[in-house]
Point group: C2
Chain length 227, copies 2
């Protein structure tokens, strides 16, 4: 489903190059549930942005669902992204002047879903993450963990083939984290391919395989007991 070969990303190539990713080769099968761990600054979010079609690599190849897409145009990238990928950002990236409900409806607007259906599916997604009583609040009127849950609802609402979640439980208490992890497990049972970045070993153990990043390269991998 997701395959990268020798993927690299160098920021500031002309001044003081930062080798955020230095030749990553990974293969993730359809329906697989993978976790990514590693120190702060080791390239995890950079990797997620590349496979999430939000940015292009400096070099290397990327196949998504069988299609090589490292050199497509920005428009094509946006189209593929909206079709196949649900993304939970590390800093949520919600639109600050829209309510929680509107923020969750947004991916469906791009996908051409009609207004009544958008509203219904958005409410359903918000209910799933326990946020139905706050759907008319804007991001500044929500707590950190509430914003995180709205971002998760937005990522799920289009029933994507691939769910990419960059530290989705960083602002959640243990009970709420567990509820989110149960949602991910349900999605996994429904054959969603999941890539989850986390700093917490207990969260990572929900996956089938953990990949460890270090300084822009893959340091090691391990299978979990759920594989």
């Amino acid at each position: 489903m997701i395959r990268v070969e020798n993927l690299s990303k160098i920021y500031r190539p002309d001044t003081l190059p930062v080798r955020a990713l230095d030749g990553i080769t990974i293969s993730i099968k359809p329906g697989e549930y993978v976790a990514i761990m590693g120190p702060s600054g080791s390239g995890k979010s950079t990797f997620m942005n590349l496979i999430g079609c939000l940015d292009k690599p400096t070099s290397g190849s990327y196949w998504l669902d069988g299609e090589e897409i490292s050199q497509v145009t920005a428009d094509e990238l946006a189209f593929i992204r909206n079709q196949k990928i649900g993304f939970v950002f590390q800093n949520f990236n919600l639109l600050p002047r829209m309510t929680a409900l509107r923020n969750v409806e947004l991916p469906m607007l791009y996908a051409g879903v009609n207004k009544l259906k958008r509203r219904e599916l958005a409410r359903e997604a918000l209910e799933r993450v326990g946020m139905l009583d706050r759907l008319d609040h804007r991001p500044t009127e929500l707590s950190g963990g509430q914003n995180q849950r709205v971002a998760i609802a937005r990522a799920l609402v289009n029933h994507p083939k691939v769910l990419l979640a960059d530290e989705p439980t960083g602002n959640l208490d243990s009970k709420t984290s567990e509820e989110i992890m149960n949602i991910f497990t349900d999605l996994h049972k429904e054959d969603t391919t999941i890539v989850l970045v986390t700093h917490e070993p207990d969260i990572a153990r929900n996956s089938q395989r953990i990949i460890y990043f270090y300084d822009g390269v893959i340091e090691k991998e391990e299978l979990t007991s759920s594989s």
Copy 2:
């Protein structure tokens, strides 16, 4: 050092009131190290914003360092805040168009520290959190955990009497979290009063006392083995 009595905060009082804080009474001694835990949406950040002089309560009293300040003007609040408080925000709140270095220098600019000294102290604070090699990066050019560390450096740089940290390790790997907790422990030994919001029990156990919030009220308190 910090005392609140019957402190309340009601958002949207005229439409659909949200009782974010519902009569909080807490007393924190000078030099005490307290942790706050509780479910997402239970009022922790709201409480921190009130004691951090970033917002005013709907009702109730607040004494900071012996002075009752629940009714002072916005200017007086800003002055007190800059004088006495270092604040690590849950969402960092760094200025996006300034470099890490400039962001950390900012509190000292308000405190009237000269340019050379600002630069020196900012570099020192960034070194303390392991961010010296990224001081010319702007927030969008930094990882989540790097941004969090810059926010921590900014909170420490003025050597505040009171350090308020709202989930300061949410984006950090375990090794970096430990380094940050060691910094807090050192500050505590230097008599800084510390209030730390966290979702992680291991992080909370660095404090002397843990206060549990639930639905805008205090549910219970417990002393830790470090008290």
